[in-house]
């Protein structure tokens, strides 16, 4: 591509077309540009256009296209690969770097921004080595006196240097910073001084001031970046200049710079906020050097706080400023700056209290954006808010001055409460602030699970609760002063571990009552508070609040909870649903009378939300609640399972048919639970579904696998005979699922769960023809890609098989696959790896299985396998006595990651659909050690003399000692 007018013309045409709303015109043009972007001179044509085109749209379009082109192509990734060639030739690169800075600086702002971005992308790759004159070029522009140009340079510098704020220290990075400092620090300092001077000469010129303050903000940001990694020598030497000027700027005000906007921060606020950050950086990292300046900054920042208004636009500045004070006041060597009673009082009065006030914006959020309000207030996503900053300052001050601060605040709390009492409907915000103040003063440590865990002992929380919180909650109207209601409920919630139980019991009916409040925040808080109270632990690990204590309230609680779900804005309120779940779990059988109505409401809800599942937590608790209803009811009356099936199956069918992916794993879990409730043969309705469960499409989704395996296991437990007789043609499909699972390193254990159930429950003759294939599959996996997890599952399985079919059958089927296979598996797998088996039941299965191999397998006594007899016994004793071997080879750390194909709906396990641990050995063997002793005894009776001689020749002494212990315990001797 030549730099010709014709080409410029063509390019202009195509650029114009890329702006066309019609995709039929736009797309081909974009394609064309992409196809020519590898040509030499293409970027230079773009630069020419953005500079010289007659049309402004083309200029802008060319600049955006250029920026994107640079973003895509400038970086050369390692050694060039075939399909990722270097699209920008060297001469173009040189030309771009030679021209872009002056071009950027002479362009109008819209284009300047694009080019500035492009420069920082190029800079990230080429600066400093391959672009040595960039800095000088930039610095030279400082002399221009044109602040449009200067701001362009500063903005570019900022985007080049801001990575110093987060990158790790390295010689390479520091070399670059040093280079930057050498070239940039002095000119920047001079520019800083000059700009400040200009600010005073232009103190009456609003438009000039705006430009100058934009420069100052950028300069302050650059200061932060350049000083971040370490305190540079230059800045240490020039600290006086910088800090004195920063200090002056903090105290500066100019009417011309004040903005009318209430929300958006103005230049003055942005600058002061950045200066607070700079001071905080120095205070944290360069304390020793910064010490002489710090007191001045404390005073300035505190004055700033006192004089700054309540508008939202000041929020960032105020919270930054307060955080600065908070971080300084807890340092021992600055304690003296705060300890004067007057200082403390004035900080409390002028900084903390005003910033704790409930503002119009908070009120708006409370009413119109309650979800956001709750998230901030309840879940602590309030890190940048004023209230939060004020709270942190209280806690910081309390580190050294808990007594005085508590004293000062008590005065404020009392006077605010008095104000409130005079005229509640006007002054309710005073009470809100009082409650907030008490809360922040009293809470020293807090968790979601327990609320406040450490409280300020100087605050009498119970007294405040009884005198000021309860009265609000007892008032006749639940809808009056909703903010104060929410405050009161929150108070109960967070101080639940400090307030005595009898007070909590008094509160419960009040909370239940507030479930009816119209305000979303209020009824949500009420639900959440109840839920939290119900999880509290009393003595001996039972709940603090008992079902008996709740007896009088069961009906009203359940009614109000479900009614709350019908209040506007709360139809999928997760807090309410969680409270429902928790109430069920606490109340247990006392909910049974209400179940018919409850399950109807839950099913309707389920049906409604399944149209468009959007609240995962809500949905999860809803299914948990369904599970609880089933468990609790069927525990008292097993026959009730039928009525649940009747109520639920219709919705379930719809969910399955419509393939509601989020819900399917839940449905399988609930079905498993229901099926396991049946005592007799599996109902027909389940059998009708059986073939569908084997559909490969279901098994492709990771989230379905655990609950589906669980469900199939339930089918096998309850209906193995039915499957064998009525669905024998589905057995290969069932085993196909097993094969699919076993092929995956991530899911193979699930495959084994299924296989174990098949072996345990299916009538032997129904799987006879498949047994050999099963083993071959397993051996293939063992040979090709064994992992520790696989081996553990494999060991459990073959021992289960041995228990079920006998040791001889195991040996025979192994050896029928390949001669001497049995010996090989013993020697290479069982003996060396058995120590890795984990889990009580698993270990027991292995112990009993191995005992059988030792004592009920004739080939172990009189073939070449005999030499493995003692090592196997030794391994078994090891399994009994040695600590588990939990080492995992290094290369296995990442297996699951590479095996999980992309993100899929994760499996959400329902706690209340939990499966009891199943022990297939069960009562058959109680104590596997004794069982071993008895079995050995039996063997020795059958062939007297052999066993003791095998023991004495090669069993190690320690193992022998253990074995003698077992024999003694079983009161047998070996013949």
């Amino acid at each position: 591509m030549e730099l010709s007018d014709a080409n410029l013309q063509t390019l202009t045409e195509y650029l114009k077309k890329t702006l066309d709303p019609d995709p039929a015109i736009r797309r081909p043009a974009e394609k064309f540009l992409e196809s020519v972007e590898g040509s030499q001179n293409y970027p230079l044509l773009l630069l020419t256009l953005l500079e010289k085109s007659q049309e402004n749209v083309i200029k802008v379009c060319a600049s955006v296209t250029f920026k994107n082109y640079i973003k895509r192509n400038w970086r050369i990734v390692g050694i060039l690969v075939e399909d990722e060639p270097n699209k920008i030739c060297e001469s173009d690169r040189i030309a771009i770097k030679a021209n872009i800075v002056p071009l950027m600086l002479s362009s109008p702002e819209q284009i300047q921004k694009q080019l500035s971005d492009a420069i920082s992308i190029i800079g990230r790759e080429d600066f400093p080595q391959k672009w040595p004159d960039l800095l000088t070029e930039m610095v030279n522009r400082f002399q221009s006196g044109d602040f449009h140009v200067i701001n362009g340079v500063l903005r570019t510098a900022h985007s080049l240097f801001k990575r110093y704020r987060h990158e790790f220290k390295s010689n390479e990075l520091w070399t670059e910073i040093k280079l930057v400092l050498d070239a940039f620090a002095l000119p920047l300092t001079n520019l800083f001084k000059a700009t400040i001077e200009l600010c005073s000469t232009h103190a009456n010129d609003a438009s000039a001031l705006k430009v100058l303050f934009s420069s100052l903000i950028l300069i302050a940001k650059l200061f932060y970046s350049l000083n971040f990694q370490d305190l540079p020598e230059f800045f240490e030497d020039n600290m006086e200049t910088w800090m004195t000027n920063f200090h002056t700027l903090l105290t500066l005000d100019n009417k011309l710079l004040q903005t009318d906007d209430e929300e958006e921060a103005g230049l003055l606020e942005l600058l002061k906020s950045q200066i607070c950050d700079n001071a905080a950086l120095y205070a944290q990292k360069y304390d020793e050097e910064f010490q002489p300046y710090l007191p001045r900054f404390v005073t300035a920042i505190w004055n700033l706080l006192v004089t700054t208004g309540q508008e939202v636009k000041y929020d960032l500045l105020v919270s930054n400023a307060i955080q600065f004070l908070a971080s300084v006041c807890e340092r021992p060597h600055y304690k003296h700056l705060f300890e004067d009673q007057n200082t403390l009082t004035s900080i409390c009065e002028k900084v903390i209290v005003p910033n704790m006030e409930f503002r119009a914006a908070d009120e708006e959020a409370f009413e119109d954006n309650s979800e956001e309000y709750i998230r901030r207030d309840l879940e602590g996503s309030d890190i940048d808010t004023r209230r939060r900053a004020a709270c942190d300052l209280v806690r910081g001050l309390c580190k050294f001055f808990e007594g005085p601060v508590t004293g000062i605040f008590s005065g404020y709390v009392n006077s605010m409460l008095q104000e409130y009492a005079k005229n509640p409907s006007v002054n309710w915000k005073h009470k809100d602030a009082a409650i907030y103040l008490v809360t922040s003063l009293a809470s020293k440590a807090q968790t979601q699970k327990h609320g406040i865990t450490q409280a300020n002992e100087l605050v009498n929380l119970t007294e405040f609760f009884v005198n000021h919180i309860q009265p609000d909650l007892k008032s006749a109207s639940v809808n009056e002063f909703p903010v104060l209601k929410a405050d009161g409920i929150k108070y109960i919630m967070i101080f639940r571990n400090q307030v005595p139980k009898e007070q909590l019991l008094v509160s419960i009916p009040l909370l239940i009552n507030h479930l009816q409040a119209e305000s979303i925040v209020v009824h949500t808080y009420a639900a959440h508070a109840l839920e939290r109270l119900f999880t509290m632990r009393g003595t001996n690990n039972s709940t603090l609040i008992t079902a008996a204590e709740m007896a009088p309230f069961v009906e009203v609680l359940l009614t109000n909870l479900f009614k709350a779900l019908t209040l506007p804005g709360s139809s999928e309120n997760e807090y309410i649903m969680k409270a429902i779940m928790r109430s069920f779990s606490l109340l247990q059988e006392s909910i049974i009378p209400y179940i018919p109505s409850v399950i109807t409401q839950l099913t309707q809800k389920l049906l409604a939300v399944s149209k468009n599942p959007s609240k995962p937590h809500f949905n999860h608790y809803m299914f948990e609640s369904i599970c609880l209803s089933i468990r609790i009811t069927c525990k008292a009356n097993p026959d009730a399972v039928g009525s649940f099936e009747e109520a639920l199956f219709m919705v379930f069918t719809e969910i399955l048919q419509n393939d509601v992916q989020e819900f399917i794993p839940y449905v399988f879990q609930v079905m498993s639970l229901l099926l396991e409730m049946h005592k007799n043969e599996i109902p027909r309705s389940y059998m009708a579904l059986f073939p569908h469960l084997l559909q490969p499409v279901l098994w492709e989704r990771t989230g379905n696998i655990p609950p589906l395996v669980r469900l199939l296991q339930a089918y096998l437990e309850r209906g193995a005979n039915t499957i064998a007789s009525a669905a024998a043609d589905k057995i290969p499909g069932l085993l196909g699922v097993f094969q699919k699972l076993i092929a995956s390193k991530a899911n193979d254990h699930q495959g084994f769960y299924l296989l174990n159930s098949i072996i345990e429950h299916m009538p032997p003759e129904s799987v006879d023809q498949y047994r050999k294939q099963i083993f071959i599959l397993l051996f293939q996996r063992l040979q090709n890609s064994k992992t520790t997890k696989f081996i553990k599952s494999f060991l459990v399985f073959i021992n289960l098989y041995c228990i079920k079919y006998g040791a001889l059958a195991l040996q025979e089927i192994f050896d029928s696959i390949q001669p001497k296979m049995f010996g090989m598996v013993l020697e290479k797998i069982i003996i060396p790896e058995i120590q890795k088996v984990s889990g009580q039941v698993e270990k027991k299965i292995c112990a009993v299985g191995i005992t059988k191999i030792l004592t009920e397998c004739p080939p172990m006594m009189d073939t070449e396998y005999t030499k493995l007899w003692t090592p196997l016994l030794q391994a078994l004793i090891g399994l009994f006595e040695l600590p588990e071997d939990d080492t995992i080879p290094d290369e296995e750390h990442f297996i699951d990651i590479e095996d999980t194909p992309g993100y899929q709906t994760a499996f959400s396990q329902l706690a209340f659909a939990g499966k009891k641990e199943h022990d297939p050995v069960g009562q058959m063997v109680n104590n596997p050690r004794i069982h071993l002793a008895q079995s050995l005894h039996k063997l020795s009776t059958a062939c007297p003399g052999r066993v003791p001689s095998m023991l004495s020749t090669s069993l190690n002494a320690e193992a022998l000692q253990y074995l003698q212990g077992y024999l003694q315990a079983a009161s047998v001797t070996l013949l």
């Binding site: 390692g78 990575r163 704020r165 987060h166 990158e167 790790f168 220290k169 010689n171 520091w174 040093k178 400092l181 370490d230 305190l231 540079p232 020598e233 240490e236 030497d237 950086l281 990292k285 360069y286 304390d287 020793e288 971080s327 602590g380 890190i383 440590a445 807090q446 968790t447 979601q448 699970k449 327990h450 865990t453 450490q454 119900f534 690990n541 039972s542 779990s585 606490l586 247990q588 937590h617 999860h620 948990e624 468990r631 991530a746 769960y753 553990k792 599952s793 889990g839 290094d890 750390h893 699951d896 999980t900 499996f907 396990q909 706690a911 209340f912 939990g914 499966k915 009891k916 641990e917």
Partner: protein
Amino acid sequence: LPVMSKQGEHMKKFKNKGKDTDSLRRQRVEVTVQLRKAKKDEQILKRRSISFSVLGQSLSPGEDKRDEVIPLSLEEIAEAVNGSNTKLQLQATQAARKILSKQKDPPINQIIELGIIPRLTEFLGRSDNAALQFEAAWALTNIASGTSSHTKAVVEAGAIPAFISLLSSPHMHISEQSVWALGNIAGDGPLYRDALISCSVIPPLLALVSPATPVGFLRNITWTLSNLCRNKNPYPPLNAVEEILPVLICLVEHEDKEIISDSCWAISYLTDGSNDRIQIVVDTGILPRLVELLDRPELIIMTPALRAVGNVVTGTDEQTQAAIDAGVLAVLPRLLRHSKTSIQKEAAWALSNIAAGPGQQIQQLITCGLLPPLVELLDKGDFKAQKEAVWVVANFTTGGTTEQVVELVRSGVLRPLLNLLLAKDSKTILIILDTISNLFLAAEKLGETERLCLLVEELDGLEKIEALQNHDNNMVYRAALNIIEKYFSGEENPDLQPGTDQDGLYDFSVEKQDFDF
């Protein structure tokens, strides 16, 4: 990508817990790039010039009082030096020396440009004229005390052999002046240091050390010896070190503070290296003396002694043990609480390397009461010291046994550690996050995960870790995310413990163990 490979290394450090403790020991960072101002009291000067202010206490035997130096212009100096009149030569050399002895910015470059250095070097050989030898030596000393290129000008004029032979001058003030000059040359860097060594500077230098040597002279010798030990890449030749060490061992026992200080510096240089270098020093049995010196109130002694001991504990487990046996753990608490932040930092660095050792060394660290001052430092120390303290905790949690880690948590380390998540330093944050992971591993072993979760949350750690999920540094954000996902995401699940459930319903244990999503 360099970032990735660094991460790889990092993972190696922390993944295989306790397997690779050697790699946890952190050598003194080779500072090739420095942004900060060099702190004068933390280093002795590589070069020293002789100004008038040093004179009073120094070698010159009342020279200036004897005859007033006649001030000359640079041209006159050049002319006289190059001339043949001995008296004028002396006067000019004296005048040059005087100009070079100005305290502030002596005009070394101009003197070099006069081209008189070869002549001055020549004068060093004029054993017939001690005064001229002395003045020339002094002038050259001050030239060599300048920048590298200044030193180079002196060396290239052939001054090395001339000065070395002057070491044996019958005039003590001349040999002392030569010691000084050679010190400046040696301090320039490994190249000239080794040039001196290969010109056999050591034997005549060591020969000057005797019980009769005046203290002032001995100070100079010690300083020059320290410069002969200084610098790595390469280290000074082994045989040179072996020659010097026995004398250093004697000097470190001297009662003069400066002699002790400089000999400690020398030892600190010799230990700043690979383990075999450290071993040579350890074998001299010097460690108890060094530890004793750690307890001295004078900063000029404590600083280099701490550096030396700090270097030793970067070595093997055995070398570290030798330092422990010498009693270093008993003095470290005081040093960690020292008012000088550079001492805190250096002490914490040393401690971090002891914490990188095997379990029994960590145990000794606990037994000797290092945990309380560590927690204090972490809480209230200067930022540089806090960073080192974070390393101590990181190494401790990597190599310590579960019981030791429990002890650490009991000592209150968690609160200040979590507070430091607000540090404005990505590396520190990352190390803390890794440490938190280590703590969780220990908690898992004890079945105390939930308690640790609560503790972290109570101390406002959770919200800090959550906030770090938005950090600009990729590794930091990933580490934070990892912790949140692993320990804090199932906020509901620990809640669902079957405390209210009499059925033993909470039973997915088989799945749980192997379940990996």
